[in-house]
Symmetry: C2
Subunit: 222 residues, 2 copies
């Protein structure tokens, strides 16, 4: 708001929102270091100021969170939008989108952990299971589905459900992948694309009875 300090005592005299940007940078650093649990004290300390200033710029923790999230969301979201707009065959498009997301969380895990798993009092309320960033991604996906795919009468319900569902799927799988690194990224992309592509339906039945024992259990790893 009235943040255009004419002569800042400690810092660079830049534009109007300069100070705010610096604070966000500091918060970013702390979060990158401590994760989403970073305390306001820590952020203020990192910024070299004291808490009340922080609270003058961002009403409360939620406000800072929101501002910070919005900033990064912009990047992630535009990346996703770009991916969704690529002139690709549908399957390739799906893979591109998945890869874009995974690449993003791979590049800055802490930041995206913060984006995707807010502290439950920060970004999301009682019935708000998806963080705002993910919510927006889900909306983008839903819109893209509705735009490209002919789903008949239930198009709206299906696309919204799928948007959320796909987002949640990639979120969960992506988090796991990030934590365990069970495989390179491309494999993960293919695994998820395969799932979305109906491989669960198409794959053959294993030669196993309902409750009976399987003949041969494992086959060599390629």
């Amino acid at each position: 708001m009235a943040g255009d300090g004419t002569a800042a005592p400690a810092g660079a005299a830049g534009g109007p929102g300069q100070r705010r940007k610096e604070l966000l940078d500091a918060a970013d650093r702390v979060i990158r270091r401590d994760g989403p649990r970073a305390s306001m004290n820590a952020i203020a300390a990192e910024a070299g100021i004291s808490k009340p200033i922080l609270y003058r710029h961002f009403t409360d923790r939620q406000g800072l969170f929101a501002a910070l999230a919005e900033r990064h969301t912009a990047g992630l979201l535009s990346a996703m939008r770009s991916a969704l707009a690529l002139p690709l065959e549908r399957r390739d498009l799906v893979e591109a989108v998945l890869d874009t997301y995974l690449a993003a969380i791979e590049a800055r895990p802490q930041v995206y952990r913060f984006l995707t798993h807010p502290e439950a009092a920060d970004g999301l309320g009682p019935g708000r299971p998806l963080a705002p960033a993910l919510q927006k991604i889900a909306d983008e996906i839903a819109a893209s589905v509705r735009r490209h795919v002919d789903l008949g009468a239930q198009a709206d319900l299906l696309s919204e459900t799928w948007g959320r569902g796909i987002t949640g799927m990639v979120l969960a799988a992506g988090d796991w992948w990030l934590a365990e690194r069970p495989c390179p990224r491309e494999e993960m992309v293919r695994a998820l694309a395969d799932l979305l592509w109906g491989r669960l339906a198409a794959a053959g039945q294993r030669p196993v009875a309902a409750t009976g024992a399987a003949p041969r259990e494992r086959e060599p790893e390629e």
Copy 2:
């Protein structure tokens, strides 16, 4: 452990773990009322005792959480296991599993919200995106997939990924459904099953530019 008070001043003198069970009941009530943010103070008050007793029975908040979660997890998990063990065609099995989950969260939203969205310091650590209950469900799904579906060389990676992915998908979609109630349960089940069933791949291209219009290939709903 040593909780068999011979003459309890306020309460029933039951078995050894009686008191513990009562405390869990109280915690349950509070959580059902206030959601997962319930404070230890509130729980103690609801139980009619004071905090230290609570802490004598459950080491810390995480301990209480874990005990409480385990209790409900048992129910949810066994329901899921039963569903996964039904002697159904694969598609029907998927629908049964989805329906089981949605029915469960529909029946006791607060409890399952607590199970599925722990307070980020309670049930899950830095790289632990899925709550324990969901983690177990994911494992069950993965095992079931690995057991029933022939996935070739990458079976392990695929099944684990899918387990997590499906769980995350249902979680996100289920939360949204619970919050918005956009449709009856069966429709939701079908929407999600359709997604898992490759309808995204199979549905016709919509007559829109970008990649050129495709011949309409959709088949009528139902």
